[in-house]
């Protein structure tokens, strides 16, 4: 072609056969920007470096998102669940131990069994969490140490209480009070703290997996490359009168595809993870908070009966009333917060039922206190235990069991929603990391190939 000849003549002015190889090499790599080959060399270098740099950035970004998303599913959410479960088990164990004392006489086998199951479950979870070590726990490791050391002391005191109780000694009640205060003042606050820390980690990881800066930077750089490739193509076309440069076209097309994939995967994952949070972990967490407060209130209800006889103005009843007002429903209360958080999610059924059953329980509690305050302690205990005189439909035990069941249902639904959506979010990044690396390499090779073919024409 004529045009090629023209260019070759201009460029080849100083190059002839017989020039020493070293000189030719030095000339080839000399950047004479006033001439086209020098500019081509510069552009080639820039495009190749940009492509590789983008590849590194994109791979890093994808890795950040996908590891945060899988960390969320595989580590943070289970740890958060475990922390909540530890609190629940400990609280339930304390509640059950108190209830066993209520019965008077021999403790019911089911109550004892439930206490043991709770303690074993909590012990196992604490052990597992300890095995995970400080790396994943951060600030919660101190709480974990407290739990590990004080749980055996607690169980020891409960066993002392049982032993004394079996001999008919009031000393048993003193040991139970001691155990209960260890639980309420040391163990439960540590478990609560750990749950809060785990939840904070969950939220932080979730934010990391859905954050915008990295993906925006990656896409911006990617678009910059596409624009640069387009500009170089245009420049080449003017210089060389070649309409198409296959290498540059390939690089540009691959860059566009890689960017589209990245944007698509990211937006899909972000949507899934946000749904996991708003429809899954947020309602589950709100319900868990309400559940924990209800557990405390139930334990206090039992303790009003253990201390016995007209505790209407006692500290335990006051504690119950405090927890009741924290639970709600009403503006700013835990149950209302849970109901709001669960609106439109799978957990909403459980949350609505919890609001209804909480009120039934409050009514049962009023009856129970009325019985106890009117010299009918036996019937009050019957209502709390759900057996013997005073028990029956609408007793405090049944009402609380219903409420507790609502929480379990709602929390399980929230967790299931979280698991499904968060997994989908994590899966959205599948194959993307090797994909962007391959794309970057193809882009680099494409640019190099396309430009070096033009460059070769100047030799």
């Amino acid at each position: 072609m004529a045009s090629t000849g023209t260019v070759a003549t201009a460029a080849g002015a100083g190059s002839g056969r017989g020039v020493p190889a070293a000189k030719a090499a030095s000339r080839r790599f000399r950047l004479d920007l006033s001439k086209t080959p020098g500019r081509l060399r510069l552009l080639l270098g820039i495009l190749v470096l940009l492509s590789l740099a983008w590849g590194a950035l994109a791979a890093f970004t994808v890795n950040q998102y996908s590891s945060a998303a899988s960390n969320l599913v595989a580590v943070r959410e289970p740890l958060s669940l475990d922390a909540r479960q530890i609190y629940h088990d400990l609280s339930d164990a304390n509640d059950t131990a108190a209830t066993a004392f209520l019965a008077g006489g021999l403790e019911p086998t089911t109550t004892r069994q439930r206490y043991l199951t709770d303690i074993q479950a909590a012990g196992t979870l604490i052990e597992t969490a300890s095995a995970q070590g400080g790396a994943t726990l951060g600030g919660a490791s101190k709480d974990l140490a407290t739990l590990s050391t004080d749980l055996p002391i607690y169980t020891g005191e409960v066993e002392m209480a049982r032993a004394d109780n079996r001999q008919g000694f009031p000393l048993g009640a003193a040991y139970l009070r001691e155990a209960s205060s260890l639980m309420n003042l040391t163990l439960l606050p540590a478990a609560d703290d750990m749950y809060a820390a785990e939840n904070a980690s969950l939220t932080a990881t979730s934010a990391q997996a859905t954050g915008l800066p990295f993906v925006i930077a990656t896409i911006a750089v990617g678009l910059g490359i596409v624009i640069a490739v387009a500009w170089v193509s245009r420049w080449l076309r003017r210089r060389t009168h070649r309409v198409l440069n296959a290498g540059l076209l390939l690089a540009g097309a691959v860059a566009v595809i890689a960017l589209a994939w990245l944007a698509f995967a990211y937006s899909g994952a972000r949507g899934d993870l946000l749904t996991a949070q708003s429809r899954g972990s947020a309602p589950a967490e709100a319900l868990a908070k309400a559940d924990i407060t209800a557990l405390q209130a139930h334990a206090d209800e039992s303790i009003t009966l253990i201390d016995n006889g007209g505790d209407q103005n006692g500290a335990d009843e006051k504690a119950y009333q405090r927890e009741k007002s924290a639970l709600g429903p009403g503006p700013g209360t835990l149950l209302t917060a849970a109901e709001t958080a669960a609106t439109g999610s799978q957990a909403s059924g459980g949350a609505t039922a919890a609001v209804r059953d909480a009120q039934a329980w409050y009514a049962a509690h009023v009856n129970l206190r009325k019985l106890d305050n009117n010299a009918n302690h036996t019937a009050a205990v019957g209502s709390a235990l759900g057996s013997g005189p005073g028990s029956g439909p609408g007793d405090a035990r049944t009402a609380y069991t219903n409420l507790s069941g609502d929480f379990v249902t709602g929390i399980a639904a929230g967790q299931a929603t979280f698991a499904v959506n968060a997994s989908a979010g994590a899966d959205a990044f599948a194959g993307l990391e090797p994909g962007v690396i391959a794309a970057a390499l193809v882009m680099a090779v494409g640019c190099a190939w396309g430009l070096s073919r033009r460059l070769a024409e100047y030799r």
Binding site: G168, P170, A375
Partner: protein, 343 residues
């Protein structure tokens, strides 16, 4: 002491009797001014309501005894002779008396300990309140209702709550190893003495302590609001004893078993109950600081004080007291503490 003759009307502003008389007189004057009352038949309110509502003979007796007491009253308070003399004979419930109000209500409200083994405790095996104090409450309930079954509302309170429960009127009577003393007599009434206790010390069996004097600088436990706490904190020993105050005496025993305190010091009656729950403890030292127990009743109900005293007199006479003693404290059974009254 200022409280010496609490029942003496001229003894000072704080005297309840003086208040009662003042209110009575005020009411009489008001009633007379209103012209709606027969002379000499005051319809009093407030503190003196029940006093005035009782049959005239008793009121007269009370007034008279107060007058006599003023004449004979020693300058110091005598906690063992501060109560009101009951009318002769078996306990009687007169219309509009506090006992009639209790009978109307259907149950006697009694403040008791749930944790004082042998005196007042909640037995976890049978789910019942039991003990020497509880027997006294049952005797009072029986005198009101004919039977104690189903007619007592036990209210488990700590030592620290006893005074407030009485003065606020949320219980009719407190039976909780409560020492009659001059300070308490200022704000509440007591029955005649129903049990004589003495202060002693409980330590672990391997302890070499021989009493509070040998425990200088160490931690000694008692309940908040008990006379024992006062004794420990003011005990003359160098260095001073460190008082550890807890809600109930069983809490002290928990601390002793955990090695957090060196000793528990309180009434021998309570210590015996603690020792029975832990055979690895012993009671040491000579008895000191006698603690006469009385049933605490609001100053609003002198008629009820007299009624309870009549019940106690009956218990002493018919062997009920001795039976309770043998059951809850042990044998040999001594003679019951004699009843001395303020007159």
């Amino acid at each position: 002491m200022k409280t010496g003759a609490r029942r003496v009307s001229g003894n000072g502003k704080r005297s309840a009797a003086a208040r009662a008389v003042a209110i009575l007189m005020g009411t009489v004057l008001l009633a007379a001014a209103a012209g709606c009352s027969a002379a000499g038949a005051p319809r009093a309110t407030g503190a003196a309501r029940n006093l005035a509502a009782r049959d005239g003979a008793h009121t007269t007796t009370h007034r008279t005894t107060s007058g006599k007491a003023r004449a004979k009253a020693p300058p110091a308070c005598d906690p063992t002779a501060a109560s009101l003399r009951p009318p002769p004979g078996t306990p009687r419930i007169t219309p509009s008396s506090w006992m009639a109000t209790i009978r109307q209500r259907g149950h006697l409200i009694a403040g008791v300990s749930a944790s004082t083994y042998g005196f007042g405790y909640f037995n976890p095996i049978n789910g019942q309140y039991q003990g020497f104090d509880i027997d006294m409450i049952k005797a009072v309930a029986t005198a009101i209702f004919g039977t104690a079954d189903g007619h007592i509302e036990y209210k488990s309170i700590t030592d620290d709550q006893r005074q407030g429960e009485i003065t606020s009127g949320s219980v009719d009577i407190v039976a909780e190893t409560m020492t009659i003393n001059c300070k308490r007599l200022k704000v509440m009434d007591f029955s005649s003495v129903y049990f004589d206790a003495n202060t002693r010390v409980l330590v672990l069996k391997n302890s070499t302590a021989t009493g509070l004097a040998s425990l200088g600088g160490q931690k000694v436990c008692a309940t908040k609001g008990s006379t024992s706490a006062g004794i420990i904190s003011s005990y003359p020993v160098t260095p001073r004893l460190k008082l550890v105050a807890v809600p109930q005496f069983t809490d002290c025993l928990v601390l002793l078993q955990q090695g957090q305190i060196a000793a528990i010091s309180t009434d021998d009656a309570i210590l015996a109950g603690l020792k029975a729950q832990d055979p690895f403890t012993k009671i040491v030292g000579p008895p000191f600081d006698p603690q006469p127990y009385g049933l605490a009743i609001s100053q609003q109900h002198p008629d009820f004080v007299q009624f309870v005293n009549a019940v106690l007199a009956q218990e002493r006479a018919d062997g009920g007291w001795a039976h309770s003693y043998a059951t809850w404290v042990g044998t040999p059974v001594p003679a019951p503490p004699p009843a001395h009254y303020a007159d």
